[in-house]
Amino acid sequence: MKTEDVTTRRRFFRAAGAALSAPLALASPAAGTEDGEALKARLQHFEDVHAIGELNRRYAQLVNGRARANSGQLFAEPSQPGVDERIRGVTADDFARQDVIVLGDDGHTATARIHCTVRIETPIEASSSLVEMARQQGGGMIRRYEEGVFEGVYVRRSGIWKIKSMTYRSA
């Protein structure tokens, strides 16, 4: 995408946002009315879903970038283990259209099911010089790919969504 196109698109979104907010501003009933509360709730819903989606994407980014050690910051309890260490790569399936994010009624909890393809690497267990050399240069792994589902549980603390737990099961 050319820089000019990006700039054009940004202007569009800003304008659309302004356009969106204008009728809202014009049409929004006074605070406290029923329509106003419903709109606020819908907006909050979308923002929460977006935030959780971003949280999942960030987690996948860290796994793919071999920076899993930095993923503690995404968790409610930083020492909470993530998914199996053998999962070294994550790709969303079907452009994430099958993913489901469900917000709890309390507004502070959520769950998600994310369909993906994972790359699993299992260290080759052997005491040969071949395996030793392979490990030293980043190999020594058996790699395979499979489809599966990440199941996340989330909690909002101080306005920030965090992962409470993340598990994986193969499809």
């Binding site: 080759i124 040969s128 010089s129 071949l130 392979a134 240069q137 980043g138 190999g139 020594g140 058996i142």
Partner: protein
């Protein structure tokens, strides 16, 4: 009487002196006047000034006073004077100098036609072993007033991967050098060490243009000497420098010219379009220190046991074909060819072994004349009709011996790799001898004169071996007495490699019994029966570590990876 320079100790057995920094500094005093050279040094820089700007590295301001003295200011600092030498190869000039009073120096490659430069900063005492030359590579250009910096740079490359060369330097030193990797290389010292074995060292390959490349290697885990040269692949010429301390701790610092012969091209396995400008290291990164590089240091990572510790470990555990390792992911089916057979293997060294094969994994053996049979676990594979490889331990033998046998029932011939544990150097290092003999069995009449024989038919060949998903190596049968193994990087480039003594026996046309010893490494005796018709092997690994003695299967699928024409360099000269 002329001697072919066979050393008292092979390179991997030499206990190279742990030189101190002070000793190195004292020895480097001789380098203050620049490198020696058997060839006339070039005057290409005489009277010139040269400013080299590198990316993320030093700026080097040189002033050359004639063809042997220079002054250098690093990063606009105070200038120092030093002796230097330079050689040219076409438009490429190599200049080399140390910085007097220090353990540092520079080898600079300048392409005068493109103004591109590659700088090798070199130094000693940068590793536990002070004598090992360290290097950092910087890419840059020659800065010229009024001219824009050239946008291009010399780069890492895989474009000469797979090549091999014979080189004869202007001082008479002859070598064979093979490049089956992008981070390592093989070298055979025909002159210095008699040409019996090949050795491996971490190496760099840099492309200046399609015709000229920069190669360097450091004999890490040996003398620590660096050899660096520019090579012209069209003219097969080289201009280089050698820096370090030999086995007598004498300083080697000289420039050389060389002429050579191209020996062929091995196959390469990178995706098309990958020209090797980056190293595919997967999860690894280069060590985060100046000069960091991947170096295989097996003696530092493999546990070394004494003879007593070996005996204790073996008493605790003997693992005989208990379960298949990753080295046997593609092994042949276990054969029942021998089940029910009674035979004698009579070897020409006088050893005679009677056998009764009671099952697929159970045999009994005894030395001829003994009354008592010894039960052993074994495994057998039939590589070709009537060609069976099997192996077992010899319980009670003093050196935890093993017999790894190839029996050819169509010709009643047997060859045995007799492995023992322990050498004068390391308690858990295997040794091997090859026994030739015959099969005596009802229905077989063995030959009286014909035997399997040692062969050079594999020498120079490269074969890939896929043992398991994720575990593939390439063998380069590098000399009649050594074998190299290369591990691939993620993108199929050759990666780390190592080498060990070996021998090759011809069983039938296209079928060979090879063994290699991982000496000064993890001590393993590896044996494989290579069948170039099926491109499949079967084999046995024999290894002892703290967890005991292991006799295990090997099995892999092979691909032809080419051949280097090198056999002619190994014959005894008239």
């Amino acid at each position: 009487m002329a001697n072919n320079n066979y050393p008292q100790e092979a390179m991997h057995r030499i206990a190279y002196t742990k030189l101190t920094e002070r000793q190195i500094l004292e020895k480097l005093a001789a380098a203050a006047d620049g490198p020696r050279s058997a060839s006339v040094l070039s005057d290409v820089f005489a009277g010139e000034s040269l400013r080299i700007v590198t990316d993320d590295g030093p700026v080097l301001d040189y002033r050359f006073d004639g063809e042997s003295r220079l002054s250098l200011a690093e990063n606009d600092g105070a200038a120092v004077e030093a002796g230097y030498g330079a050689l040219t190869l076409g438009p490429v000039a190599l200049l080399s100098h140390m910085i007097p009073g220090t353990q540092r120096g520079y080898n600079v490659i300048v392409d005068r036609s493109t103004r591109l430069a590659t700088v090798f900063e070199v130094w000693f005492s940068g590793f536990e072993d002070n004598r090992e030359v360290q290097r950092e590579i910087y890419y840059g250009y020659v800065d010229e007033a009024g001219s824009e910096p050239p946008p291009a740079r010399h780069t890492l490359t895989n474009r000469i991967e797979g090549k091999g060369y014979y080189w004869r330097q202007d001082n008479g030193i002859e070598t064979l050098e093979f490049y089956p990797s992008v981070i390592y290389s093989n070298f055979v010292e025909l002159t210095r060490f008699g040409g019996e074995l090949s050795f491996c060292g971490p190496s760099d390959y840099i492309r200046t243009d399609d015709q000229r490349y920069v190669y360097s290697r450091v004999e890490a885990e040996f003398s620590g000497v660096m050899t660096l040269y520019v090579l012209d692949v069209n003219r097969v010429e080289q201009a280089g420098v050698r820096l370090g301390f030999d086995e007598n701790d004498a300083l080697e610092y000289y420039l050389f010219r060389g002429t050579g012969e191209a020996l062929g091209q091995l196959a390469r396995f990178e995706p098309f379009g990958d020209v090797g400008e980056t190293l595919a290291l997967g999860d690894r990164t280069l060590p985060d220190r100046k000069g960091g590089r991947l170096v295989y240091r097996p003696l530092r990572t493999n546990p070394i046991l004494t003879r007593e510790e070996v005996d204790e470990a073996v008493a605790r555990n003997r693992d005989v074909f208990a379960e298949d390792s990753a080295m046997a992911g593609n092994k042949l089916p276990v054969s029942d060819y021998l089940v029910g057979k009674t035979l004698t293997l009579r070897y020409d060294n006088g050893e005679t072994i009677d056998y009764r094969f009671d099952g697929v994994h159970a045999l009994r053996w005894r030395r001829a004349g003994d009354a008592r049979w010894q039960e052993e676990r074994y495994e057998a594979w039939e590589s070709a009709p009537g060609v069976v490889m099997f192996a077992h331990l010899l319980t009670g033998a003093p050196d935890h011996d093993t017999h790894i046998v190839v029996a050819d029932f169509e010709h009643a011939l047997a060859s045995c790799i007799h492995g023992t544990m322990g050498t004068p150097y390391i308690g858990n290092e295997a040794a091997a001898e090859t026994l030739f003999g015959v099969i005596e069995m009802d229905g077989l009449t063995p030959p009286k004169y014909r035997r399997h024989q040692f062969t050079d038919e594999l020498v120079g060949r490269a074969l890939t071996w896929n043992y398991s998903p994720g575990l593939t190596s390439m063998h380069l049968y590098s000399t009649p007495h050594s074998l190299s193994w290369i591990i691939f990087l993620e993108n199929g480039s050759g990666g780390m490699e190592w080498s060990g003594p070996a021998s090759y026996v011809k069983i039938r046309d296209g079928i060979y019994l090879a063994y290699w010893l991982e000496e000064a490494c993890n001590g393993t005796l590896g044996t494989i029966l290579v069948n170039t018709h099926t491109m499949h092997d079967c084999g046995v690994g024999y290894h002892c570590g703290p967890d005991g003695l292991r006799l295990s299967a090997i099995g892999a699928h092979s691909r032809n990876a080419g051949r280097l024409d090198i056999t002619k360099y190994y014959g005894a000269k008239v």
